[in-house]
Symmetry: C2
Subunit: 473 residues, 2 copies
């Protein structure tokens, strides 16, 4: 009886599913192979060892592109190429900070990407601490902080999905602008991070138009605590010296590296990661892991020796860390074929296990998402909602209407390492990485071989109900 | 029946115990008070915030002494004083390393205390990796490594009692000597530490007599892994650049800070910790914690407002990190009264909970150890053996025959932080620190008020049995 029931249920599921049985079977085989494969790990191992840190626009980023081309070609991908573009370049040179009085000692800081330099010898000023960005924003504008060094000590909340980042990152960009509006000499922030190690976290900042540009840097969490305690223990003002020198160039070379598994049609399923990293670590979790995951997944699909329906395109974006420059360049250069992009997904949140399959497809296409979710479920991946972001570098695609998928990773520890010297290969668990490769391989194969679109069909093709017509008013 | 049995057992125990009931009751009250007190934590908080790092012989170490004198006086200790001495001074200036070829990238290193500098601009050489110190020692001497940079990649074993340190530390001092004997240009070691963060661990090294002095530094664990992988992945030699500049002076001021709770007799119970730290962190676990523990314990005993039988002497040793210089100086300066030192104990293993009460008393005095152990037991402290070290700064006392006690702490995480920038206050758990204070207060009070010696009485006073006489042949 049990066998009969199972057969009936299976027959029913097959009848209902938009996923052809052969594609489903292939996806399941990919999962099985991926869990026993280490190409993903070996890829991030090579990238982070042979190149190491690869700052956007640097000579190291160029070496990373060359490495990627060789690597992708050697694995057997087709149409491997670099699409170059130019970016404004920023690199730190010297950076230092110290409490000058009343408790002289060095502080661990790192300059924020895009910051102007201090004058040579640094700036010295009395520290004014703000517990939150809101407190600083509410502080009266004008010369209210003239000669002072602003210190925004707002901590970041640890979350599995990284949602604490959005809140915390506001101070990374904002502190210098708000400091400038109030006549301050400089802005220091508590690092955007969740660890308690003595690593300051770097990351991009940007100046608002017409604001006085003041230099800015992040303190490690222990140094932020130390500065806060010094303020508490001191009877008088606490004075800090902050020095930052930077190298900038108007134009520096960057590029996106592209590799393909050509399909039978001109439709494209894009999976990506970013090749550049910040300069402090070796960019293992951000985003060497993503490179390993999409390349590892691609290699397993290549090894099937079966042409997919759609072309599978792997894009290793350049200059993500400095404002998604590679992503916007990709969307510009490929504007004419964006409507052929049926799906986009980027892996850019470390190497933690994927726990959720989140989509942003047309509402009428969600049976496809459900069918894919069922295949991914044995990996411990639950079906999420239909509000996916898709990853930073697919934002321009999403804006252009390309359906996107987020294979959401456990980011509990991600912001312990993010943008620090401690972002190194040893932080990656090969088994967790393999689970990611499995999910990407299965998902990508299904997306490339499942009939029909993921987008909502154009409105004129759909037969609108009265409700929809009403809603459109 | 149960009550009667308990009474009988209690009466029996009291009759047998060398610990007077009043002293035992006082010790138990001290434990109770200590667990609700935070003077220990506030002491290490102040030291690490107001002074921060305090390298032996530096101006910061001098500020630490001044702070300690003020702090100890303000708490009410008597005979607070500094006993000064001079030491040879060593401080790092610039330090940097990088893989030059074939995979150019920076490496995180830190110079080892006492190392000679490299020539300006650094030394560049091919890296030769040794898995263990033994492997290097077995390598033929002569010019067998001429022009090379030695890299000893031996990892350290994590243990609760720190016993992995003794093994691992051999490479810190030894690598440069063995490199020099073989004509190498420099020696790099995998840090003596148990973490996987990108912090190199510093620490003392010293040159053997007549050996060619080559500069030496430690790589962080991730950088050691990286260099090992680079060697594995490279088809040819891996070349590294290593630069270290140092500042040395023949003589610099250091000192021990002493404070007392005067007793009724001229006998002394000494508890200590060391005031200096390495330069990279703020010396919270090494050894701000110890300072907090002995000062916190002392303050609770002061607050009893009851003169102990013996004088309780707190010694905050200077220049421990550079060869126990304060400890040897103390033994030298107090040579005339060392026989009055009835007990020594140092807290210098972080802030982890004490799990064992280990002694080195005369064999005939072990009933006293057993009595003290029973009082400490409710703190989760078990009786250990009679082979205690007592702590690094009491080694000269132990050599001079002073009985010593080790209140052994859980050091599972200690070598994650030891001698790194990450040795900061946030790594101390105030509750665990309070347990240490409780144990030190109770132990010290018992040692100061328990009648009779802890040493073995001189041989001529003991009546030897025939067995002993036989054994002496």
């Amino acid at each position: 009886m049990a066998a009969t029931t199972a057969l009936t249920a299976s027959a029913f599921a097959q009848a209902e599913s938009p996923l052809p049985p052969k594609v489903e079977a292939d996806a399941k085989k990919l999962i099985e192979k991926a869990l026993a494969d280490d190409q993903g790990y070996r890829t991030v191992e090579e990238l982070t060892t042979k190149v190491g840190a690869r700052l956007a626009g640097s000579e190291a980023e160029a070496r990373a592109r060359d490495w990627a081309v060789d690597h992708l070609k050697s694995l057997g991908f087709k149409n491997v190429r670099i699409e170059t573009f130019e970016i404004p370049y920023w690199a730190r040179e010297k950076e230092a900070a110290a409490i000058v009085s009343p408790f002289p000692q060095e502080l661990e800081i790192t300059g924020l990407g895009g910051s102007v330099a201090t004058p040579e010898g640094g700036v010295t000023g009395e520290v004014v601490r703000f517990e939150t960005m809101t407190e600083l924003k509410n502080y009266p504008e004008g010369d209210t902080l003239a000669g002072k060094i602003v210190f925004v000590d707002e901590p970041m909340v640890r979350t599995q999905d990284g949602s604490g980042y959005g809140v915390a990152v506001a101070k990374r960009s904002g502190a210098a602008n708000e400091a400038g509006k109030r006549g301050a000499k400089a802005a220091l922030i508590r690092s955007v991070g969740t660890d308690h190690h003595r690593f300051p976290h770097t990351g991009l900042m940007s100046y608002e138009k017409d604001v006085t540009k003041v230099p800015t840097a992040a303190l490690s969490a222990p140094d932020s605590d130390q500065l806060a305690r010094a303020l508490e223990m001191s009877d008088g003002p606490v004075t800090v010296l902050f020095e930052l020198s930077v190298q900038t160039r108007e134009k520096a070379p960057s590029g996106n590296v592209i590799a393909e598994i050509p399909g039978r049609t001109d439709e494209i399923v894009l999976i990506g990661a970013h090749l550049d990293s910040w300069d402090l670590g070796t960019g293992a979790v951000d985003d060497g892991a993503g490179v390993g995951i999409v390349v590892g997944a691609g290699k397993l699909m290549l090894d099937k020796r079966k042409k997919p329906e759609r072309t599978i395109r792997i894009v290793l974006f350049g200059s993500e860390e400095v404002g998604l420059l590679g992503a916007f360049e990709y969307a510009r250069a490929h504007a004419a074929e964006l409507d052929k992009h049926v799906m986009g997904a980027e892996s850019d949140f470390g190497a933690g296990k994927i726990y959720q399959f989140q989509t942003r497809y047309g509402e009428s296409q969600l049976d496809k998402a459900a069918a894919m979710a069922r295949v991914l479920e044995p990996l411990g991946i639950a079906r999420g909602d239909n509000m996916a972001g898709g990853g930073p570098d697919v934002i321009p695609l999403r804006i252009a209407g390309v359906p996107v998928t987020s294979l959401r990773q456990n980011g509990w520890d991600y912001f312990d390492l993010h943008h620090t010297p401690d972002d190194t290969l040893d932080k990656i668990d090969p088994d967790e990485l393999a689970q990611n490769v499995a999910a990407y391989a299965a998902f990508t194969w299904m997306a490339a071989n499942m009939p029909g679109p993921f987008r909502e069909p154009p409105a004129e093709e759909a037969a609108p109900t009265e409700d929809v017509a009403d809603g459109a008013q």
